[in-house]
């Protein structure tokens, strides 16, 4: 349900960036979402559809790139995709590896038309 709040902050960023780059219309929005966030792509899409009305991103497409969760094991120095929700290293069993990918939640790029 907090996907709505996340999309509200997305629209703030869109407005601010469109202004900074002279975009009068946004046609595509690309997000990167890691699989260890609690943001569901379907719920993000739904909130995006609901919030885009009356904004300069009305009718825009939202593309979501999901990122797998990856850890680095400090003991055996290998990267791995864990068997979620558990993080233990499959190679040596180390219980507390470092997360290197999967918590992403950012606006990658916008496509749109400028005033010219």
């Amino acid at each position: 349900m907090h996907e709505f709040a996340l999309m509200q902050s997305l629209f703030h960023i869109i407005e601010e960036q469109a202004k900074a780059h002279g975009l009068v219309r946004v046609t595509k929005v690309k997000l990167v979402v890691g699989k260890m966030t609690m943001a569901l792509p379907a719920a993000l899409q739904m909130a995006f559809q609901a919030l885009q009305r009356g904004t300069l991103a009305e009718g825009a497409e939202l593309e979501i790139e999901e990122r797998e969760v990856r850890f680095f094991c400090p003991a055996c120095e290998q990267e791995f995709c864990p068997e979620l929700p558990y993080a233990a290293c499959p190679h040596c069993g180390h219980a507390a590896p470092h997360l290197v990918q999967g918590r992403e939640l950012y606006l990658d790029y916008l496509e749109g038309d400028d005033e010219g």
């Binding site: 709040a5 902050s9 966030t37 219980a95 950012y106 790029y109």
Partner: protein, 224 residues
């Protein structure tokens, strides 16, 4: 025209959380973000904790709820400073909401600030409020499968409190298996099985909380 932005959706929240943290650090306060589902027993745990530690620690409480001031009323009866935030529908607290009410608490006269988040095991885990540590609250009545189903809060928390231990004989909650599962999710997590009603296990949790608060109060060394 393509514009690369690469801006985090939580950037505004993180900036507000940094501001809260800067303010709270100045007063040497230990700040706890208490996260658990509706009915997990967060408020009862807090009442009992304040009753047990009230002589050693001065508590300030920020209550997050969608509606009503019932929890704040319960806690203010214990003589602690309480501020209520009504999110009016939002499923979590964010750093800006907390920042707006911090000034209502007498920060200079406190040792610990507990933020009781909106009852929800999912969304609050995503929003940094400026706390020192998150504490996950799960009751034995909610079922053994919850940590694996909602792992983020257990990954992020420093402590996990398993509440309503007195109900254990009436549920199929497997305490040993859940403890093992939580350890697999996060080996660094401190786990405290408690019953706020009978007081069982409350001593270990209170001792840990006291240590967290004392650690924050110690003046920074090596600066002379």
């Amino acid at each position: 025209m393509k514009v690369f932005v690469v801006k985090d959706l939580l950037a505004a929240n993180e900036e507000a959380a940094r501001e809260n943290r800067r303010l709270l650090e100045r007063y040497g306060l230990a700040v706890i973000n208490l996260i658990g589902g509706p009915g997990a027993g967060k408020t009862t745990l807090l009442e009992k904790t304040i009753a047990l530690l009230g002589a050693s620690l001065r508590f300030g409480v920020i209550e997050g709820d969608i509606c009503t001031t019932r929890d704040a009323e319960r806690l203010s009866r214990l003589g602690v400073e309480v501020v209520q935030i009504n999110t009016a529908g939002a499923c979590h607290l964010d750093a800006a909401m907390v920042g707006r009410v911090l000034g209502e608490l007498p920060l200079a006269d406190l040792d610990v600030v507990v933020v009781e988040n909106v009852g929800n095991l999912v969304c609050p885990a995503e929003f940094d409020l400026g706390e020192d540590l998150k504490v996950a609250v799960l009751s034995v009545a909610e079922g053994s499968d919850k940590p694996a189903k909602y792992p983020l809060v257990f990954h992020q928390a420093k402590a996990c409190i398993l509440t309503k231990l007195d109900l254990l004989p009436y549920t199929d909650f497997d305490l040993a298996a859940v403890t093992e599962e939580i350890r697999r999710l996060n080996p660094a997590l401190e786990i405290f099985p408690v019953s706020a009603r009978t007081g069982e296990g409350m001593g270990a949790w209170c001792q840990w909380l006291l240590e967290q608060a004392q650690r924050k109060k110690q003046p920074a060394s090596g600066c002379s």
